[in-house]
Symmetry: C2
Subunit: 196 residues, 2 copies
Amino acid sequence: MAQDTKVNGVNVDQLLSTIELIKEKPELAQFKFRATNKWIDGTYNRATVKDFYGAGQEDTTRDPVVFEIDEPPVLCGNNRGANPVEYLLVALSGCLTTSLIAHSAARGIDIKGVESRYEGDLDLRGFLGISKDVPVEYQAIRIYFKIDADVSEDKKEELIKMAKKYSPVFNSIAKPISVSVGLDKTGTPLSKPAAA
Amino acid sequence: MAQDTKVNGVNVDQLLSTIELIKEKPELAQFKFRATNKWIDGTYNRATVKDFYGAGQEDTTRDPVVFEIDEPPVLCGNNRGANPVEYLLVALSGCLTTSLIAHSAARGIDIKGVESRYEGDLDLRGFLGISKDVPVEYQAIRIYFKIDADVSEDKKEELIKMAKKYSPVFNSIAKPISVSVGLDKTGTPLSKPAAA
């Protein structure tokens, strides 16, 4: 049996056959990703990621991944985890990196190393409700990539443009998204008392 | 010395005095949050959160928090971590929860428990570049809250609206944000070879 072709550690045969399969059956491209959150105390809460729907079926095979979320002391927390706006940068970092690597792999571009750094500007007057003129959201996010590959600087700039173009998280942040929030009407009670 | 007043585990005295201080010195409200990312192999990469700037100074006191990011096998990965679009839901969950808790605390509303669940719809044809008519980003995110508190259902709906209004991550996703991505021109090399 021939071994699968890997570029940048990505199984390109699997990637290309997935693309061909989805062209034939677009319903296989519909994914639903999920998370749950449970408040613990003050600015401390815990999120869990486990199941998702994709490729035509529920996937319940993964072990749960648990995330501790808190604020630093200057924001009334105890550093029991990174804070929510930092998690947003983590999401962005993972997505741009994977997008760059996978799309380079699909084009046969060998990447030796990728590192990136992220900085977002937040004016706390928005969150605190001190001024209506101050945005609540990040005012700007700046990202800097280092790419080790035997290609020109111009080509590296192209790879970055490609990473942006195909990154779901980048586009979810750069563009407006429909986010609905409401009360859970399923009637089931909370799992157990949350407050310490 | 009188003990600080806590509501929902939030030090309300600290919260209110922070608000008063920032009204006098708005520059203290300027925060910069950061993350770094290093590609490891294929769809597997690692993000680190540590320092931030806020309240007029650099904070370098935190220990680094490290996040493993990967895709499930159906998306060419090995489940070595949650995937980037799941991290986005984690960020959203932490921010809406903290916003609900903190703003309830500031208003003296006692919350006994909060749980929430998140589901986002992603059509993989966007990421794969199969169809230009399919958005790359989440098409919609739905969120459901359970709140245990001695208030009416209407009041709970109000708390949810309040949580949305003041949540930096909710507003960063629901609204378009300026995200710039470019090559790192600082000239320092990558920290070490990344690919396995």
